[in-house]
Amino acid sequence: MAAITPQYSRSNINSQKFALWVAIAAMIMMFGSLTSAYVVRRAAGNWFEFKLPDLFFINTVVILLSSVTIQLSYRAFKQGKEQQYKGLLIATFVLGMAFVIMQYMGWEALNAIGATFTINPSSSFIYVISGLHAAHVLGGMLGLTVALVHAYYLPFKATIRRQQRFELVVQYWHFVDVLWVYLIFFFTIQS
């Protein structure tokens, strides 16, 4: 741990950030396999068609907005604007929470129109894929919580170490954002 961190690092990218990119590749494979399974299963017929809830589209705006706020918060952090950095971080957290709650309402709306969890794989897939995505957003909010603790309990100091830690959260948050954009695009062209 602390005693063995110094070593020769050969590239410009921080190894933790690189490791997160590799982990993101793994997550892409997981969601990629699920959407591929969706395509394969849909081609086999016996597939119920229904309209996606509007909330899913509104939510796309919410999560895109949260990406903007976290990026601005990161910029404020680097520029040493403490209040802006903290405020935008909280805004990101609130938007993330709103996203998860509204996804839940979206599932309720789906359920209300008869596209229940078990009626047909076409709806089951929507619940499973968007649910797994929401779980990843919750994971990101865990990271945001750590960032908030750093922001509010540590004295404000834009050290390189704290910047790198913050970058990990930003990188992951953008990933779950882009992932949702892909998923909503995928669901739209498929249904």
Binding site: M1, A2, A3, I4, T5, P6, Q7, Y8, S9, R10, S11, I13, S15, Q16, F18, A19, V22, A23, A25, A26, M27, M29, M30, S33, L34, A37, V40, R41, A44, N46, W47, F117, T118, N120, P121, S124, F125, V128, L132
Partner: protein, 619 residues
């Protein structure tokens, strides 16, 4: 300067002082502050070398259990009439005693045994025990890093594997038995709790265990990739890496890209089991009762499973290939033949492994025209495989080969890989597969090419790096008995299965054909296989005894580099602390295979290039 060795005694020390990379590392003589007592040093360690040993010993534990299971079902297959009542103290109600006092293996438990044997050997032993052990031990040491990129996640990787093992182990004691639907866990057997005894709690625990295993494989793989790409020491460019590093690196890439797909497959399976969805189920009748589960496709699960399942066999064999290349070159005292061809064939195998998965499904109802595509790519894998075999043979050719346990196992690997690889060309053809699928021919093929061969690679690695792990040598005489016995015994077990398989004897049958007139003449052959399996089992027990005896009482290592190898792990002290090098990290000046060059027996990687010397690592 924290550590200046006052008088450098060897060339290596001089060079490390003059050229080494000083990262201001402060060695703590009693381990670092996180590893000061027994619990933190041996149990919750973050030192990659300790984690490697944890993986290895856990792997040996599981190998013993998995092998013991195979002996129990081999007894049933070879001697179906035998009285197994003596197993009752161990297996309890799974041995059914009839009125005459004759004990028989419960048929349901037979299926549990083959299922668990497959799961344990494929995942716990040959993935975690092989890649987990040697990637952890060798990656930081051979690339010249203090530890993994994230030692903490690395420890989590072991502990997720350990928990996966605990869950699987507990499932063996369920009153309904562990899962019994085959290690591939195809639905509907795996999706409907009412399908069989093992499909209930046994299957649930199987899924939980595998999910934890996926976590372990991902945490490990992410660390291995990051460490190889980011933490190589100064001068260690990719083309100077030993082939072990290339093999472990590509293995980790395969794992990171394919295990999440298995996770997806298992996730959908979990919903089918617990929440009433129908991803894999359609028009099922269980016990005369029609289920309302429609619209699913069991083939979908097979696609998701084999998208992991096929790269998985290369996750098993690539580390063995890397180990064999390194061990063979060191003991042949010759550079590995065709280093770059070896690297490119590893990359080619890794790439092709992702586009051949449906060759496991030729008889599952996939479109025969799609099968053609998979046949072609499957057969193309023979090309990089043949390149590797050619290079191993030419490495040995004309060499002054040192025959010891490690190098003998590396040659044994090549023998097994050729024998098993050739039958792969049979099975890769979808037309021949119609006759051979689900017969003992398949059992013979994959046991030889990825079971025995991967074990031989693992044994070569254990005998070779045992001094690095424990500071002592394993007993050579026992090692040679182990090698020759296992080589002959493994062929004795699996060679005859080719014949029974071609005759059509189906795999997975409780009664290996004895009740079919067509297969009755194989009874004696089956007895022979079982006897050979028992002999080989006891030879592995001999290995385990040798292993644990040598940890405490083996011949001590007196010099840092007993094999005269070029790679960096042999520049660390005999008692290697956390951080690996007490002072500077050595820098790398040349590739890893300068053996027998310019009249010198070997030139380690830290020695600078001489004048007019060709640099193999900088094409």
């Amino acid at each position: 300067m924290a550590h200046v060795i006052s008088a450098a005694e060897t060339l290596e020390e001089t060079l490390t002082q003059e050229l080494g990379f000083n990262d201001h590392f402060h060695e703590h003589h009693h381990g670092d502050k996180f590893q000061s007592n027994f619990l933190t040093h041996y149990i919750f360690s973050t030192d990659h070398k300790m984690i490697a040993r944890q993986f290895l010993i856990t792997g040996i534990f599981w190998a013993f259990i998995g092998a013991a299971m195979s002996i129990i079902f081999r007894l049933q297959l070879g001697f179906p009439e035998a009285d197994l009542v003596w197993l009752k103290p161990l297996l309890g109600k799974w041995i059914q005693v009839n009125a005459a006092g004759i004990g028989k293996l419960d048929p349901e438990f037979y299926y549990s045994l083959v299922t668990m044997h497959g799961t344990i050997l494929v995942f716990f032993v040959l993935t975690a025990g092989l890649s987990g052990t040697f990637s952890n031990l060798l990656i930081p040491l051979q690339v010249g890093a203090r530890d993994m990129a994230s030692p903490l996640l690395n420890a989590f990787s072991y502990w997720a594997f350990f928990l996966a093992g605990v869950v699987m182990f507990l499932s063996l004691f369920l009153s309904t038995g562990p899962f019994s639907g085959g290690w591939t866990a195809y639905p509907p057997l795996s999706a409907l709790p009412q399908a069989s005894d093992g499909s209930g709690a046994g299957m649930t625990m199987w899924i939980v265990s595998m999910a934890l295993f996926v976590v372990s494989a991902l945490l490990g793989g992410i660390n291995y990739i990051t460490t190889v790409l980011n933490l190589r020491t100064k001068g260690m460019n990719m083309w100077r890496m030993p082939l072990t590093m290339w093999a472990f690196f590509v293995t980790a890439v395969l794992g990171v890209l394919s295990f999440p797909v298995l996770f997806s497959g298992l996730l959908l399976l979990m919903f089918d089991r617990g929440l009433g969805t129908s991803f894999y189920l359609s028009e099922i009748v269980v016990g005369g009762q029609v289920l309302d589960r429609i619209g699913g496709s069991p083939i979908l699960y097979q696609h998701l499973f084999w998208f992991l399942g096929h790269p998985e066999v290369y996750i098993i064999i690539l580390p063995a290939m890397g180990i064999v290349s390194e061990v063979m070159s060191v003991h042949a005292r010759k550079p590995i033949f065709g280093y770059r061809a070896m690297v490119f064939s590893i990359l080619a195998i890794g790439f092709l492994s992702f586009i051949v998965w449906a060759h496991h499904m030729f008889m599952s109802g996939v479109n025969p025209f799609i099968s053609n595509f998979f046949v072609i790519f499957t057969l193309i894998i023979a090309v990089p495989s043949a390149v590797k075999v050619f290079n191993w043979i030419t490495t040995i050719y004309g060499s002054n080969f040192r025959f010891n346990s490690a190098s003998l196992f590396s040659i044994g690997f090549v023998s097994m890989f050729i024998s098993g690889g050739l039958t792969g060309i049979f099975l890769g053809n979808s037309a021949i597969d119609i006759q051979l699928h689900d017969t003992y021919f398949v059992i013979a093929h994959f046991h030889i090419v990825m079971g025995i061969a991967a074990f031989f690679g693992m044994f070569a690695g254990i005998y070779h790096w045992f001094p690095k792990m424990f500071g002592r040598f394993m007993n050579e005489t026992l090692g040679k008995v182990h090698f020759w016995g296992t080589l002959i015994g493994a062929y004795a077990i699996f060679w005859p299965m080719h014949y029974t398989g071609m005759a059509g004897v189906p795999r997975r049958y409780y009664d290996a054909g004895a009740s079919f007139d067509a297969f009755r003449h194989f009874t004696d052959l089956n007895k022979f296989i079982t006897v050979a399996a028992i002999v080989v089992f006891f030879l592995q027990v001999l290995f385990i005894i040798n292993f644990f005896y040598s940890i405490f009482s083996g011949r001590k290592m007196t010099s840092k580099n007993p094999w005269g190898a070029n790679t960096l792990e042999w520049t660390t002290p005999i008692e290697t602390g956390h951080g690996n090098w007490p002072g500077n990290i050595p820098t790398v000046q040349r590739w890893a295979y300068d053996y027998g060059k310019d009249g010198k027996e070997f030139i380690p990687q830290y020695v600078p290039l001489g004048e007019n010397e060709h640099d193999h690592g900088n094409h």
